[in-house]
């Protein structure tokens, strides 16, 4: 059995543990409350199963945001790319114009569980293997300065602090 490595030991992380997930969520929530956008943040492991989920009080569209956060994190972990890239590839307006644009049938894959709204990012270890995903729902926009994507990026950058 491989030895589990956590951030507390001061060495790179290889696996999403509950402690790492909570630390990422705490960083994301700190940023979100400063920005004034209550949101729901989900961290999933390599399999796409939830490790930790927290929804802040006052989160907008609570039902959709929570469901979307789980779906986005799952999609990012399964596809190993940012949801932003996937949503761009699958946008019907770009058919024939960018690489991957004919993958539009991907939408119904994985029992329709994948969510293509930007706001999910894969989590990588020091060797760039995907070890999990983070998803966010709740902010009023998916791409931009104060958005789902930014919250995810804050969560991931907290790993490197």
């Amino acid at each position: 059995m491989t030895k589990e490595v956590t951030m507390e030991e001061g060495v790179p992380w290889k696996k999403i543990t509950l402690e790492v997930a909570e630390r990422m969520i705490a960083a994301a929530q700190r940023w979100a409350s400063n920005a004034g956008v209550p949101c729901c943040v989900t961290i999933v492991d390599k399999a796409g199963a939830v490790v930790a989920l927290e929804r802040m009080d006052g989160c907008g569209f609570p039902g959709i945001a929570t469901n979307a956060a789980i779906g986005k994190a799952y999609t990012a972990a399964q596809a190993c790319v940012s949801n932003y890239l996937l949503s761009k590839m699958l946008d019907p307006r770009y058919i024939g114009e960018i690489p991957g644009s004919y993958y539009i049938g991907l939408m119904t894959q994985l029992n329709c569980r994948i969510n293509l709204i930007p706001g999910g990012e894969p989590i990588r270890d020091d060797e760039l293997n995907v070890i999990g995903g983070v998803g966010c729902g709740g902010p009023p926009d998916a791409v931009g300065e104060i958005s789902d994507m930014t919250v995810c990026q804050v969560a991931i950058s907290s790993l490197y602090e």
């Binding site: 199963a49 490790v51 930790a52 989920l53 927290e54 929804r55 929570t66």
Partner: protein, 135 residues
């Protein structure tokens, strides 16, 4: 009274602590009165379907305001509600023990679900979580 993130977090932490004391691995989910998750925690090395099952149990408990194991009563052939078990609204209805409603007086304000140990232990862990709600 609405279940806030702070309360839900305390409940989840207490349930995980209780599971650690019992030497069990489990997932905990706390949902609000609409069945939407507020927190889901999965302990390290816990099998991954337990996260979803804990959510299902919490949803069942919160939506009907009764422990998830009591749902089987509604599916009993001698009971007027027979056929209920085929509804499976939202694909989340489960009769497995381990989901408990959170009540404020008579009003149901949420639900907690635990999965990973035996049903009796799951219920004990749920109760530990509910007890920590106002602490």
């Amino acid at each position: 009274m609405v279940v806030s993130l702070d309360m839900a977090r305390r409940m989840g932490k207490a349930a995980i602590k209780k599971a650690g004391e019992m030497n069990r691995l489990c997932s905990v989910a706390v949902v609000d009165d609409r069945g939407i998750p507020i927190i889901i925690y999965r302990m390290n090395h816990t099998p991954f379907p337990t996260a979803d099952i804990a959510y299902d149990k919490a949803w069942t408990a919160a939506s009907f305001g009764m422990p998830s194991s009591d749902i089987v009563k509604l599916g009993n052939p001698s009971c007027p509600g027979f056929g209920f078990n085929t509804e499976n609204y939202n694909y989340r209805l489960t009769p497995i023990a381990g989901g408990m409603p959170i009540k404020d007086g008579d009003e149901v304000t949420g639900g907690i679900g635990v999965s990973g140990a035996t049903p009796e232990e799951d219920v004990a862990i749920c109760q530990a979580g509910i007890a920590a709600m106002y602490s």
